[in-house]
Amino acid sequence: MDDNKIIDLYWKRSESAIAETDKKYGRYCSTIAFNILHNREDAEECVNDTYFKVWGVIPTLRPLKFSAFIGRITRNLSLNKYEYYNAKKRGQGETQVVFEELQGCITSTGNVEDAIEDMLLSEKLNCFLEGLPTEKRKIFMRRYWYLSEVKDIASDYQMSESKVKMILLRTRNALKEYLEQEGIVL
């Protein structure tokens, strides 16, 4: 079903909205959640929470890109759950690896969290991504937005794992340099 029709169902408060969403985006959301949590039950719980969240917000908002909208919600909910587990020392391996890869891309001064800084960081990330060649951008996003495993990215892009790792390494270095040039210090 077309995204606009699915959104229409939400606006009409039709219960079939969730069923149609699950039909079209269930696997997509499950993949995002599982990549972060590495646990089927937890991932499924996040996907259900996603539908609940979408059900709650769509009458007020009409997302322009439904797939990105719903994927973003799933990702955030999954990261929340991941951090909850991590705080309880139940960290999930691969996600931790992704965090470690990105560690060092920003210099920390130990400042308190500042939402404005996060907004600025998002804007700078957008600019950085815009400057990347398409393939490198997609690989970077697959790793750090979708938190996909390197071997899955390599398989999908028909390249060796070593090449994917090298592309990621160089892109991280470029990101670090770019953020430093832009004076991003969190």
Partner: protein, 592 residues
């Protein structure tokens, strides 16, 4: 770890289109076109008459590409098959890949060595930039393997989005299929993502990889359970024999040509309704004949059969042949990029600050030995950190070496000698103090001959210090005396006549070269690489794009909803001043 988490969180708010384009299983396509139904039907009839069914035939098929099974103890996945994509088992390319894969599987199994490099690659590994080589052991092993099998290493990877002219030389080999070009190596190995439109089943994605023989290419593919594949030999309409391999979730077309090995991978199989007839149509739609013989991108564009050319330049009135060495330029480019992106200086040390806007470089025969050198002037904006390097290239080892490191203020003389000027002039002379170096051709290095500075009578007078001028030494009464030291700055003044005598004796009284320095940017590095190849060197003007981002006048209005379920009330954009509707749609939601 908190910083990394903030990046991950902030990344969640990037533009929707980046999220969509990278979605698992989704690929971009450009210039899609449609094959006519009539042609399809005609092709199908013709192909059926030509095809040879050879199920389970273990002859030039998947099993001949199968790499030895690697047992990863940490893996709990089902056993799957991995094939090499550079040639069949009898080829040296496959054998080299099998050895390399086995080595890599056992080396650094827990990733600690990789972690220890902390994202920094030593410049000595620049020649392996197309491979994941991050230690001396890996470098030695890949050198051993490639030497054993007589294979070359990839040296440069071109982004075909930036250099489409490289692939255009192949003509319309994709036929009516749409294609999105990704990369090409210096030997002509390349990859293209394509889409074929079939009349009965719609569009199918595929990836075409051409691996050029003679170069080590480490592309591999996990194909799942090899026993599930049905294979058949088929001769295309163009008369090219190919192997068609059809599995449940993946299908492949294999073509072994004279100087390259071509693989077409379709990420779907019988589960999605793909059949042998579809694969035949795909095989027929590609003009494999256009993929051979391979023409290397640089030789094609430079109208040269080899990688080395010569320029005739004038030095001291005589013509000196300067060798243009494409390999050297590629390694020089790698050295520059290592500094540009990794902050690694040519000596392997880490630069405190990035190259900045004042750094520059030049490729020129500065020592008059007939070969091009790399002159790198690293100027991060802090004088204390500035460094200048003159680098040469050893074609035997394929590595660069530092001929001289000094403050980045060189005056190159046309006979190869040079003056390395000081960072400051704290003397009472107008002549800028310098260190005089004589070029030693035998070792391709420089020898420090003397420290030189001067003192002007007029300058001392202006500073009220005329009594300190050594009048006795200024026998020529030029108003300037000179100091020349061999172990440090000299303290004994000498007359200008004596100074000129010393300078002539050391071949320092020679006209200077004009060096064409370039700002230290990726664009210029790319141009330097491609200069002789007559390539446009086009690239995205990132600076301009960034400026545009900076100049956006954004007006924010809020809506107090936790839109994305992260527990924080979100602000949604409802109005943006000065942006078009399309640009508005691209803006993501923000946290506040």
């Amino acid at each position: 770890m908190r910083e990394a988490k903030r990046i991950i969180r902030a990344l969640g708010d990037v533009d929707d289109r980046y999220i969509e384009e990278a979605a698992p299983g989704k690929k971009n396509r450009t210039h899609l076109s449609y094959r006519k139904l009539a042609v399809l039907v005609a092709c199908l009839v013709l192909m059926l008459s030509l095809s040879i069914v050879a199920y389970a035939a273990n002859w030039f098929g998947l099993r001949d590409l199968l790499l030895p099974f690697i047992n990863r103890s940490s893996s709990i996945e089902e056993e799957s098959s991995t094939i090499g994509l550079s040639g069949y088992q009898a080829s040296k390319e496959w054998q080299a890949l099998a050895e390399w894969r086995e080595f890599v599987s056992q080396y650094d199994p827990d990733g600690r060595i990789y972690q220890n490099i902390d994202g920094r690659l030593d410049s000595s590994f620049a020649r392996y930039s197309c491979y994941l080589v991050y230690s001396q052991e890996m470098a030695e092993e890949i050198d051993r393997i490639t030497e054993k099998y007589g294979l070359a290493l990839h040296t440069t990877s071109y982004d075909l989005q930036e250099h489409p002219e490289l692939i255009e030389t192949l003509g319309d080999f994709l036929g009516d299929n749409g294609g999105y070009y990704t990369y090409m190596y210096e030997d002509g190995t390349f990859e293209v993502e394509g889409t074929i439109q079939l009349a009965d089943t719609g569009a199918w994605d595929f990836v075409l990889l051409r691996s050029v023989k003679g170069t080590f290419h480490d592309a591999m593919l996990d194909i799942g359970d090899i026993a599930e594949y049905q294979e058949m030999l088929y001769e295309t309409e163009c008369g090219v024999p190919v192997t068609l391999a059809l599995g449940k979730s993946r299908a492949l077309v294999l073509v072994d040509l004279e100087d390259c090995f071509v693989t077409i991978t379709i990420p779907y199989g019988t589960e999605k309704g793909l059949g042998q007839s579809h694969m035949k149509i795909l095989a027929d739609s590609i003009d494999f004949a256009a993929l051979t013989p391979v023409v290397k991108p640089q030789s094609d564009l430079s109208n040269s059969s080899g990688s080395v050319e010569h320029d005739e330049v004038v030095k001291d009135g005589s013509e000196v042949a300067v060798e243009y060495d494409a390999d050297a330029r590629q390694i020089y480019a790698a050295t520059l990029r290592n500094l540009l992106y990794n902050n690694i200086l040519p000596d392997g040390s880490t630069a405190e600050t990035s190259v900045g806007e004042y750094s520059s470089f030049a490729i020129s025969d500065v020592d008059s030995d007939g070969k091009e050198e790399l002159v790198l002037l690293y100027d991060p904006g802090v004088m204390a950190d500035e460094k200048g390097y003159i680098m040469g290239y050893d074609s035997d080892t394929g590595e660069t070496y530092i001929q001289l490191e000094e403050f980045p203020y060189f005056a190159f003389l046309r006979n190869g000698n040079l003056k390395a000027l000081s960072s400051h002039n704290q003397t009472y002379g107008d002549m800028w103090p310098y260190l005089f170096y004589r070029y030693i051709p035998e070792s391709d290095t420089y020898e420090l001959v003397g420290y030189v500075h001067s003192e002007d009578k007029q300058v001392l007078e202006l500073n009220g210090m005329s009594d300190q001028y050594p009048y006795k030494a200024d026998t020529s009464e030029t108003g300037t005396v000179y100091y020349v030291g061999t172990d440090g700055w000299g303290t004994t003044p000498m007359d200008e006549t004596d100074y000129m005598e010393w300078l002539n004796a050391n071949e320092g009284n020679v006209q200077e070269l004009e060096i064409p320095y370039l700002p230290f940017t990726e664009e210029n590095i790319g141009k330097m690489e491609c200069q002789k190849k007559n390539m446009s060197g086009n690239s995205i003007d990132t600076r301009r794009l960034l400026d545009e981002c900076e100049n956006m006048k954004v007006h924010w209005e809020s809506d107090s909803i936790d839109v994305d379920g992260n527990g924080i009330t979100d602000y949604a954009i409802v109005g943006i001043v000065g942006l078009s509707l399309n640009e508005r749609e691209r803006m993501p939601y923000r946290h506040a």
